[in-house]
């Protein structure tokens, strides 16, 4: 699975730390999600979507073979 978290952050001009504080997770979590090492839960994905005011599918994209 891919994600556009970094792009969304850049659009909204927030740092990883600011996003982490807003969502209620650690900065390390944000970093590992952006690198694709960790897949967040549905709840966390929805929180991201609400924060960035975009649909979830715009942030998290399934790969062809997923």
């Amino acid at each position: 699975m891919q994600n556009t978290l970094k792009i969304q952050r850049a659009i909204k001009n927030v740092t990883q730390a600011e996003l982490a504080d807003a969502i209620g997770v650690s900065r390390q979590s944000i970093n590992t999600i952006e690198k694709g090492k960790f897949v967040p839960s549905t709840m966390l994905a929805l929180k991201f979507a609400r924060f960035f005011e975009v649909p979830v599918e715009k942030i998290f994209i399934l790969d062809e073979d997923d």
């Binding site: 209620g24 997770v25 650690s26 390390q28 979590s29 590992t32 839960s41 966390l44």
Partner: protein, 150 residues
Amino acid sequence: MIKTFLPNYTKKIAFALYLVAVVFSCIANVDSFVTGWEAGRNSARESLQKEKAIEKNISNIIPEKDEVRYTWISLAFSFTGLLMYIFSKEKVEDEYMQLLRIKALTWSIVLTWLAVIFTMTFISPLEGLYVLQFELVAFLGSFACLKRFE
């Protein structure tokens, strides 16, 4: 999911408890340390009888019954401190930290088994309480490494 019951600041209390355990352990094993030091200093050329004579000649700094008591006190503080630290929350406790805890738990089990097999084969059978203690320390070490490097 591994539950963490205690607030983050209890980690500092847990660390203090573990330091107390270390102090008591050192006090309880002063005689063993001195015996080992003296025996070792005489090197491999000395006979086994001479090593035993050295053991007898060294007067006990700490009486034997106190040694056992201090060892038990040390273990009690050690277990309390380690378990308190393990069950304390991180500053931000989220699902990623939960994942790291599960990975650390797996690693601690593997490391403990390896340590037990190694020591039983090459040294001597580990006493049960020290195995449990090692597993707790292995969990904390694995968790710290995963937080740092993963």
